[in-house]
C-alpha cells in the first residue's frame, strides 16, 4: 500500500465508524472528528482499535489520540506508526 492508499483506507474507516451517519458526509483531510463526525472519546478508541487491527499496529497511545482533531491527523498518526514499525 502506498501513502495515498493508506490515507484513503484510514479516511474510509474513520467515516464508516463515525457516530454520525456516513452517507451525508463527504470526508476530507480537514474533516473534524468531533464537530463533523460526532466522535466522542469512546468512539475514538473504538476507531483506534479498528485501525490497529487493519494495519497491524501496536496500541495507539491515548495521549497521541488526544492530539488528533481531524481525519487528516489520524491518517498522519497511522502513517507515522507504520514507519516506526518498519524501522524496528
Amino acid at each position: 500500500m502506498n501513502e495515498a492508499d493508506i490515507r484513503g483506507r484510514v479516511r474510509e474507516l474513520a467515516i464508516e465508524m463515525a457516530p454520525l451517519e456516513a452517507a451525508v458526509v463527504v470526508g476530507s483531510g480537514s474533516t473534524r472528528l468531533a464537530d463533523d463526525l460526532q466522535y466522542d472519546s469512546l468512539a475514538l478508541i473504538e476507531l483506534a482499535v479498528v485501525l490497529e487491527r487493519e494495519f497491524q499496529l501496536g496500541p495507539i497511545a491515548e495521549e497521541q489520540a488526544m492530539e488528533v482533531e481531524t481525519v487528516g491527523q489520524i491518517e498522519d498518526l497511522v502513517l507515522r506508526a507504520l514507519r516506526q514499525e518498519q524501522a524496528t
Partner: protein, 564 residues
Amino acid sequence: VRTGLLDWLDEPVAARGASFLEDDGTWRDEPYPGLAHGVHRVAGRLLDLPLGRDAVVAIVLPTCREFLTSFFGVLLAGGVPAPLVPPTLVLSRAGYVDQLAELLAASSAAAVVTNDDARPVVEQALARAHAAAAVIVEPFSSEPCELTTTPPRSDHALLQFTSGSSGRPRGVQVTWDNLEENTAMIRDWLRWAPDEPGTSWLPTYHDMGLVGCLMTPITYGRPVRFMRPEQFIRDPASYLRTFGTADPSVYTAGPNFGFAYLAKRIDPASLTGLDFSSWRTAIVGAERLDAAALGRFTSLLEPFGFPRTAIMPAYGLAEATLCVTASPAGRGARAVRPDWSALRFGGAVAIAESAPLGDERIGDAAGWLVSCGEPIAPAQVTVVDELGVELPPGCLGEVVVRGPTIADGYLDGARDGSTSFHGDSVATGDAGAILGDDLFVFGRLGDRVKVRGRVYHAEDLEGKVTALPGVPTGRCIVIPGVSEAESGVTVIIEAEPGPWMAAVRTLLRREIGQDAAVRIGLGRRGSILRTSSGKPRRRVMWQRLIEGSLPDELSWDADVARAT
C-alpha cells in the same frame, strides 16, 4: 441497616478487596486493608496542607486505586470530593483544558488530587482559571498508615457535576445522609451478599459509576472489579469473562450503549466455555432504555446461561444522589406499547400492548417503552401536571422524586431551567407515567435530548439553526423530546419555504446524527407560542407536539434523518 461511608476503614476485610484490570490483561487485587491504609495516607497529605473543613478537593484521575483512596481520603480529611473528567476520557487536549478550567473554577477547589500524567494539564487548567489550588500526587501504597487525629466531618460528602439544561456544569451537593441512604437502598434492592463480586467499566466521575458501582461495593466491603471505559471499548471480552469464569461477578450496571456495544462487538464463538448462569443483575439506566438493544444483548448471552431476568432497568439522577426506581430483583423488565396517537400531557396513557422484555411481540421495538421499575423505598415518585398538582396513577406528567436521597441543592444555589429542587423533592424535568407499579419515562420535558449518551440542548441547537444564512432571527424553536420511534427533535420556523431549508437539514443531521428523528415545521408568525417577554414557551410547545395539537397550518418537512 445503614453503614457509614467510612466504617469500612475501621475493620477492613482482608479476604476481599477491589481488583483493577491492568493493561496486560491481568487483574490486580488490592485487599481492603491495603486500600484503607492508602485512604489514610491521602487524608494525611491533605491535612498537612492544611485542608479546611468542607474544602472542595477535585479528583482528576482515571479509575484506579488512587481514585478510590483519594475519594475516601478526602472524606476522611473533612473535605468534599469532586470527581472530574480525567484527560483519558476526552477528545482533544485543547478543549479539555477549557473544560477542566471551568469545572475547577465552578467548584472553587482548594486542592486537586491527580497523577503525574495528568499533572501538566491540571496545572494549565488552574492557570487558565486563575485558581490557586494545591496539586497533590500520591501514588498508591498499601504500606501501613494511620491518621492520629480524627478530623471533623464535612457537611457535604460529594460535589457531583452534571450538565444542566444550558449545558453548563452544575455541582450537585450530596450529603453523607444522602449517600448512606442510597448505597443502603441499592445493596438491599440487589440483595447483594458479602462475598458476591461485581464488575464495572463506568467512569467514576458520573453518579452511576461512582455511587452505584464504587461507593456501594466499597462501603459494604464487597469484592469488586474495575476496568476503565477505554479498556472496556478496547477489550469488551475481558469484561464479559468476569461474569462467566471462576468466582464470577454477579452484578454490573451500565447505559444501553454498553450492552448494545457488547452485542455488536462480541463474537458468540468466543463465548464457548463461559457460563453466565450466576449473573444475577445487569442494571440498565442513564439514557432512554432501548428494548431492541437489550434484546440483542440477551440473545447473545442466553445460549451461555444468562438469565434474561437479570436485566434490571433503573431510573435515577444526580439530584436524587443516584437510584430512584429499579425493577425488582429477579422479576425481569417489562415493556409497554402506548397508544402514541392518544398521548396527552396530564391525561391517562392508553396502553395498546404490554409484554416482558425479550418477548417476540416487541420485535424491533418501534413504539415500545421499557419500564424503569418500581420506586425503591424510602424514595417516592409522583407524577404532576404543569401546575405541580399530583396526577392520578396512569397519567403522563412530570416525574417528581421525594425522599431522604434528595441532595442539598446546587452549588451556590444555582438554578436550572428544567430540574429543580423544592425542599425534600426534585422536579426532574422528565416526562413519565406510573403504569401499574412501574415508572415509565417518556423523555425530557422539552429542553434537551440524549442521543448515544450525548446530550443536545434545545437552546444550543436553536442558536446554530438561527445562525444559518436565510433563517430569520428569533423565529425558530427547537423542541427535543418524545417521539414514537426514537429520541428526536422537532424544529418549528416561522418562515416561508426557501433554499435555506437544505442547510437547516444538513446542520441538524450533522449535530444530532442518524440515531435521532428530525422534523421541520414551517408556519406563519405566531406559530411559536411565547411568554410576554418573548421567550419561546418550549414546554407548552412540547406538550402540544406530543398531543398533536400544534397549529394546523404548519407545513411539515417529511425529510426524516433517521436511517430506517
